[in-house]
Every structure is written in C-alpha cells, then in structure tokens.
C-alpha cells in the first residue's frame, strides 16, 4: 500500500507542517499551557476531585484529545483545500498514485501531526501534574485510531470546502463544540440520565472516555465498546475518503 510514490507524498506532507512550527506546534502548546494554568491550577484547586482524581488530571486526557483531533483535522483539510485552491494538488492527481495511496498518505501525515500535538500536550500536562498511564497499549491504539479518524474527516472537509471560511466554520462551530460537550471538563456521571443518553450520540464522548481510560484507568463507558465504535467509524470515513477521490469530488471537473 505504501509504495515509493505514496512515501514521497507522505514525506511531503510531513515536511509541510514540520517546517512551520510557529503555525503548527506553537499555538496548541501555548493554548494548553493556558488551559492547564487556568483550569488546572487557578480554578482546579476550587473544584472537587472527580472520580477520585484531581481536576487537572481528570481534564488532561480530554485536552489531549482536543489537540490531537483538531490538528489532525486541520492538517488534512488545509492541505487538501490549499492544494485545490492553488491547484497544485494537480501534481498529485496527475501522478500514477492510486486513489487509495493518495488518501493513505494524506491521512497518515495528518494523523502524525495530531499525535505529535497530543504528545506535546501530554508533556505540558506533565509539567503541571504527575501523569500516569494505566493502559498503555489501549491508549496508543486509541490515540492512533482517533487521529486517523479525524484526519479522515479532514479530507472530507478539505474536499467539501469552497473557501477558507468553510474550514474555520468546521473547526470552530462543529468540531470544538462537540469536543467541549464530549465530557472533557466533566464526568458523564455528573449529568442527568437524559443528558447522559444524549451525550452518547456525540462521538467525542467515546474518544475522551477511551483516552481517559488509557491514562487514568477510569471510564464512564465500556472501553472496548468505545474502541470498537471508533474503529468502525474510522473504517467508514476512510472508505468515504477513497470513494470521493475516485469520483473526483472537489478535485476534477
């Protein structure tokens, strides 16, 4: 699947964000320093422990998820859309890469960016509070799946967008609210039964809960069920990506 051509595209995609740390790594680092300082230190001391964990430790998995998926999504959507806007995506489209290879290269590179940002946030969190990992393998697999999932969503967003405003709308008005209502800052146990059921419709809940389980060993949902839902959803999204590339959606006349 990863031919020389696909590796070349993957390398190009990695270099694109690695060479622009001021645009790609610095903003989430600063934002998360502020989150940890304000929610963890300033406000956290006044908030009761949740499920037996200090508040700063409880929110850490959610913030990692937020940073990871936002960056995976942004990278894929921006790379595709900027390439379409300036038409240099034609360099890829006129090459002998298969549509599957194109999607895999774009998604893999964007997922890597999401994971790097996730690691940066974890490292920042570790500066504020001791961080433990209770289920390392589960955590690694889950982080991999959610970063691929949102890179896959980013491909759809990049193909669908008609201008740069559309990218902003997707990130600010769809992604971010879903994450904030995905139990980043609270436990599902704190909600009424009705809202708890409604929350289960939000895919972010499964991600935050899974990553929290990986770090803290605590979850509101059944961990393997959450992972299963995420893997299934990721497979569907990647299939949609490849289909859209095959059909030339947003790419060809």
């Amino acid at each position: 699947m990863f031919s020389t051509g696909a590796r070349a595209l993957f390398r190009r995609e990695i270099l694109r964000f690695v060479r622009r740390p001021k645009n790609t790594f610095l903003p989430p680092a600063i934002t998360n320093v502020l989150y940890f300082a304000v929610f963890g230190i300033v406000l956290g001391g006044r908030i009761d422990r949740i499920a037996g964990f200090d508040y700063i430790l409880f929110i850490l998995p959610g913030l990692i998820v937020l940073g990871t998926i936002s960056n995976a999504f942004e990278n894929a959507s921006f790379s595709i859309f900027h390439g379409r806007w300036n038409e240099y995506i034609h360099e890829t489209l006129t090459s002998p890469l298969s549509y599957l290879e194109m999607v895999v290269a774009y998604v893999a590179a964007s997922a890597v960016r999401g994971l790097i940002v996730g690691a940066i946030i974890a490292a920042i969190g570790a500066l504020f509070t001791p961080v433990t990992v209770e289920h390392a393998l589960y955590l690694v697999v889950t982080m991999g799946v959610i970063s691929v999932l949102f890179a896959g969503f980013g491909i759809i967003g990049g193909l669908w967008a008609r201008d740069f405003d559309d990218l902003t709308v997707m990130n600010q008005f769809i992604l971010r609210p879903l994450v904030f209502f995905g139990a980043v800052f609270y436990s599902l146990e704190m909600l009424t039964p009705t809202w708890r059921q409604v929350s289960r419709l939000n895919p972010m809940v499964y991600m935050v809960d899974s990553v929290r389980y990986g770090f803290l060993g605590y979850s509101d949902l059944v961990p393997l069920t959450s992972l299963g839902v995420l893997v299934g959803l990721t497979a569907v999204v990647l299939a949609i990506d490849v289909t859209l590339f095959k059909r030339g959606f947003g790419l060809t006349d």
Partner: protein
C-alpha cells in the same frame, strides 16, 4: 506499439455546454503534434481528460494503449504535463517541488533529487533551485513548469500554451528544447495560439473547434488547401479588370495593381501572364503570396470569438512575466471563477 494518444468519440458535457463533442484523434508515438483552436475549442479539456483532471462524459481515451480511467496509473505515469496555469506547490523550494513530483512517480529519493537538478539545469534555472515558486519571474515560472513535466522522463510530453506571454529569447529556448526532446523520441503534444509555432515545430496539427476535430494534417498539407494570391503591377492602369479564365476565383483592381486569387499560384502565374499580355497589358511586376496557416485556421474556425496570434505581430514580446490573458497572467485567468476572490498566497500560509 499502440498510439501515444487515441481517442474515439470523446465527449465532455458541463450541463448544456458541450466542451468535447465526439472528438476522435490519434497521435502516433514519436510525433510532434499540434492542437490549434480558438478559445473554448476544447483543447485544455482534452488534455485534462488525458491526465485525469477532467472526467469524460463518454467515448474512449487511451495513452499508449492504457485507458485513462480504468488504467489511470499507467496512463498518468507516461505523461509529463506543462499546463497553462501556474499550479505549483508554493510551500517548498522549486528543487524540492520537482523531487516530490518525481517521487510521486515512484522514483527513489536520491534519484529524484538528481533528476530535479538535471532538469533545472536543462531549462536554465538551476541557480534558482532554492527559491520558492512565488519569487520567480514569469519566464522562470514557465521554465519550471516545463522542468516539472520533464522530471519524470515522460514518454508523452504535453505542453499547453507553453510560450504564451514569454519573451522571444525564452520562446526560442523552449522551441529548441522540445525539438531536442522530440528528436530523442519523446512524443510531444502542443497546444498553442501561435500559428508560427505550430508551423515551425509540428509534424501534424489538428484544428479543433467546438469540441471536435475539424481537420488533421501536416502544416504543408493544410496550406495547400488554401488559395494563393497573385498580385500583378501593370505598366498602364486599365479601366476595368481584364477578362480572365476560370482559374481566377476572385479579382480586384486598385490603380495599377491587379490581385487575383487562384488555387495554385506557382502553376497558374504563366497562364495569367499570357492572358494579360494577350489582352494588351504590359507587366511591370509580379508577386505570389501563399496562403498562411493562419488564414486556413481562420477559415476553418470562422467564429467571432476566435483568438489567434502571429508571434511576430504580438504585443507581448517586451519581457518576461508581463504577459496577459492566456499567457503570463494565466494564474489570474484560470477559468474557474476564482480570479478575483483569491487571497494572496502568503495570507493563506498561516492558516494551518
């Protein structure tokens, strides 16, 4: 060996608009083939169908026997395209852009870098290898597009208006380079508005109009299809046009100058002179003008919106990068309706 390009009844529709309406064309391997046609004739749509940027509505298109949709990987691997638009990756220095493009075609990294250097030297912009695309002049951008098409060492080189809006020196450099490539065995498909270019470079040309092939022939064959003009200056201006044989399709008299349109000027001139002398006229001077390819082109594509440029009369000879419309300004005129609302490049870079 299958033809380099073979299309049968190729069609592309955009709603009610027929961009390609049953285009059938064969380009043999090793040919230098020209595509001529007015704006909107379907030249770029045709090219983009071959490389996968346009999806055909019907018909067949093959590149070296590979169907452009079912065997798209093999078809695309054989093609190097230098498009009209400046569609180059802005994020990387041009040397890396070329190495990436070679990489997408399966060429290992070290070899891709070597090829990038080679083609940059070949098109004469090696010293700019560490610059980004946006910092190149218009002429250098054109050279880069050609370099990008060559870096994969394609069997079929497609050049879409490669010399539009470039200066005379660059145009001649490009002509020399593509002629050399063709002599080395690369099949070349060239679209151009410059009739002189097609006349000078192409083994055969196809004239397209309204999405279909009007004719395919060598430039000489095409010119033979037109009429010639014999202009005769008479010693004494006659009062009216002297009676001439059926060979004269059209005559005009202005003072002592008589112009006669005939099929073949060379073989008809002696008859015309005999007829004039028999009628008592004395010949002072005679000139035969052959039909130009440009005139044939205009006759075959007789439409109000046609655009045809004879390079010697072009007003764009002044310098690199100052072309307009179809040429150096192609970036601003891509036909996708994005002309006015694109933000500047550097504004977009900071988004993600």
């Amino acid at each position: 060996m299958p033809p380099a390009i073979e299309t049968r009844d190729l069609r592309k529709e955009y709603g009610d608009l027929q961009a390609l309406s049953g285009l059938s064309l064969t380009v043999e391997e090793g040919e230098f083939f020209g595509l001529l046609g007015p704006n909107g004739a379907g030249k770029t749509t045709f090219i983009n169908t071959l490389v996968g940027l346009v999806r055909k509505s019907g018909g067949e298109a093959r590149v070296f026997g590979h169907d452009v949709e079912t065997d798209y990987q093999q078809a695309r691997d054989a093609i190097g395209l230098a498009p009209q638009e400046f569609n180059v990756d802005r994020f990387f220095p041009i040397r890396e852009v070329l190495a990436h493009k070679a990489g997408y075609h399966g060429i290992p990294q070290a070899e891709a870098k070597r090829r990038a250097d080679d083609v940059l030297e070949r098109v004469g912009i090696y010293d700019k290898r560490n610059e980004r695309f946006d910092w190149l002049s218009g002429g250098m951008k054109r050279r880069l597009l050609l370099a990008r098409a060559l870096v994969t060492e394609p069997d079929l080189l497609i050049l879409d208006e490669p010399t539009a809006g470039v200066d005379v020196q660059l145009r001649h450099d490009l002509w020399e380079l593509v002629t050399e490539l063709n002599e080395e065995g690369t099949t070349v498909l060239l679209t151009t508005h410059y009739i002189e270019e097609a006349e000078r470079l192409c083994d055969r040309v196809a004239i397209l109009d309204e999405g279909r092939t009007v004719t395919v022939a060598t430039p000489d064959e095409l010119k033979e299809r037109g009429t010639d003009t014999i202009a005769v200056r008479l010693e004494s201006p006659p009062a009216s046009v002297p009676p001439l044989g059926e060979y004269a399709h059209e005559t005009s008299l202005a003072d002592d100058r008589l112009e006669v349109r005939v099929d073949d000027g060379g073989s008809t001139a002696p008859r015309l002179l005999n007829d004039l002398e028999a009628a008592g006229h004395e010949i002072a001077d005679l000139e035969i003008t052959r039909t130009s390819l440009e005139e044939i082109f205009v006759d075959l594509t007789d439409r109000e919106d046609r655009t045809v440029t004879r390079s010697s009369a072009s007003g764009r000879e002044g310098g690199e990068g100052d072309g307009d419309g179809e040429g150096g300004g192609a970036e601003d005129s891509d036909g996708n309706g994005k002309t006015d609302d694109r933000p500047p490049e550097r504004e977009t870079e900071g988004v993600a």
